[in-house]
Assembly symmetry: C2
Homo-oligomer: 396 residues x 2
């Protein structure tokens, strides 16, 4: 009796989420310390102290009717103004509060902008490997996902294929950098070339192609790498940001969209995104957390903690003979499976109580994703298991 | 360049919301104390002290990684268990945590259940007058709204017409009691008769008809009125609850769905609602607020405050000669417009700095909604304006 569309969605429900649930069951069975759950991108570093401080301040100083009440569907004006100013300071942009729409995390923001833009059958291009939930977000609005196949050498986007796959029905391209699942940061060179391609195609086809940047991992970068700010390179760029990772608040569902004035028909897009926020049932981003993040614009989680994990896991697996690119951001390692069908490898890993996600969940079979937002001990204690797997699959 | 569907939605964007924005502009111009803004159902009574206390306790005692982290998409198990137990205690039901799905307010919950159930062209029956946003929630999933016309004598549902309008495509009926905009509580007699009709039609048509109860106003009732708990009267009943009004937390976006085991194919419906929560981009209801409401299950806002407003406004307007039914719940008065086109009346009211919403926003023209979640002074100070309107429109 459920909707036809939902039947398959339930059947193929997120492998990652299923593993998350399984991990909890295994932890109860074997003891949490004996299960190496690398399945979910659930930050294990606590929110910075500023978050708690900001909650206390808001509860003490702000009128509760304002603090917990309705505001404009796009969010509190003061919060949006503070965020715009902070972006402007960091990236030399010139956004105003009207360009910011507070959202229920980045997932909420992506749904809002896709609802805003997509007509049925419109095509949305994604670059493999990519976060599998984009499929659902796009089909929610009857759009069609078009996948650019992975460049497994550098995991930078395959730009030639991107150009070939743009048609008159292409409404948007979604990119995600630092990338889930590879940890790769798309370089400035990549972004410039991509912008040129999109601009050329817009001219050729007489259409608008929106470049939607899903950026929950922007602040989680290592070795001083810079993540280009998309709106500086392309007029029709829209940013979807989230505090889930930068402030370790994934459960709180707080983020924002940036819709610059330079976007084609910006006023309509902004107005429609405001309405979409309301009618999709979000109504507005959670109010207390809006006020809190506005007070934590320069706060950040303990990135060196993730960096230590990155080094330990990357070096440990490389030494064992596994192949993988060194991530520059996020908290994922994307490792080549020693067998073609990586699901076999994931199943073998589970026997060692190691939970990792098959690359086919990201349209990149033959690889596995290892989320290292876990304790350092989990990484170190998982190494004998990985060693056994290395021997079992003769990776050297 | 925005989606075709969005063009009209933006054009006809919520009259209520537009008025809310206009009210803020008028308040800045004339001074807040000189604008009588009865437009929005934004609670003006602060959240009870238990809310603040619960936030403090959670921040002090709970691991921030858990408190702000991802959990099962349906919500924390302990929170869902506590809510189920609380409902069971109040209503003699026997729900478990599996029957509760935490949602981003009632609006989020309605979207989740409609996404879960609706195939394109499925019909959803609503009873006028009704909250206009249901139109968008239903069309989000390509469903069709079927409106049962208002019974303006009692504002109980017109059950004969309901029965006539049920077809083989009827997937759900949405009811809202205490009702927005009338404040009427559907009586036990109404609910029993409605359940009989639906059950009869299910048998006749060989279909399932879900009765979705949108209940944000459940706790806001006066004179000891009881609001029947739908799942006790009808097997295919699903409850959408929100803490927006009962705890004055509308901006926080926190509520839940109850999907009883008695619902047809309950397991599938529950699983699909979990997936819908994720893919609609909610991911989960805000985490801190989940924990907070679980600690405030017996807390309540200052209902006598609203009751005092209700008496003052109802008696005041009756004395001036206006016609209206005395509300038994919620915080709205639904007043007969002294002229057929109630928009004329609303426009005249605005000249007295009184903001009220035309009944046509609720599929019930000829009436106006006055939200009395305002200060007592606002009501008293608006009376000269209403008096002038009474004279202008010769209501006596």
């Amino acid at each position: 009796m459920i909707a036809d569309k939902m039947v398959n969605l339930v059947k193929n429900s997120s492998a990652i989420r299923a593993m998350f649930e399984e991990g909890k069951i295994m932890a109860a069975k074997y003891g949490a310390e004996n299960v190496y759950d690398f399945s979910l991108g659930n930050p294990n570093v606590p929110a910075p102290a500023e978050v708690k401080q900001a909650v206390y301040e808001e509860l003490e100083k702000e009128d509760p009717v304002v603090l917990h009440g309705y505001m404009n569907n796009s969010g509190y004006e003061d919060v949006r103004g503070a965020i715009a100013a902070s972006i402007n300071k960091k990236f030399g942009t010139s956004f105003g509060e009207q360009n910011i729409i507070m959202t229920v995390g980045a997932a909420g923001g992506l749904n809002v902008i896709l609802k805003t833009l997509l007509n049925p059958e419109d095509e949305v291009i994604v670059i493999a490997p990519y976060f599998g939930e984009y499929n659902s977000y796009v089909t929610n609005y009857d759009g069609k996902i078009v996948v650019v196949s992975p460049n497994t050498e550098t995991f930078q986007p395959n730009l030639e294929e991107l150009e070939q796959k743009i048609t008159a029905r292409t409404k948007a391209v979604i990119i995600n950098s630092p990338n889930n699942p590879t940890g790769v940061v798309y370089s400035e060179d990549t972004i410039k070339k991509m912008a040129d391609i999109l601009r050329g195609k817009e001219k050729e086809l007489g259409s608008d192609i929106y470049l939607i940047s899903d950026e929950p991992y922007r602040e989680l970068v290592y070795d001083g790498i810079e993540v280009p700010y998309l709106t500086k390179y392309y007029e029709n760029a829209i940013i979807g940001y989230s505090y889930s990772k930068s402030l370790s608040l994934p459960g709180e569902r707080i983020g924002y969209l940036v819709i610059p004035d330079e976007v084609s028909e910006a006023e309509d897009v902004i107005a429609a995104a405001n309405v979409a926020t309301r009618i999709l049932g979000y109504v507005n981003a959670p109010s207390l957390m809006q006020k809190v993040v506005a007070k934590c614009l320069d706060a950040q989680v303990d990135v060196p903690f993730y960096n230590r994990n990155r080094e330990a896991l990357y070096n440990g697996l490389k030494e064992l003979g596994f192949e993988c690119i060194k991530p520059e951001g996020a908290f994922y390692l994307f490792v080549k499976s020693p067998v073609e069908d990586e699901k076999t490898f994931c199943a073998a890993a589970k026997k060692h109580n190691i939970l990792i996600v098959p690359g086919s969940s990201f349209a990149c079979p033959g690889y596995v994703r290892i989320a290292y937002c876990v304790s350092y001990e989990t990484i170190m204690n998982s190494m004998p298991g990985f060693k056994a797997l290395a021997e079992e699959f003769q990776v050297k």
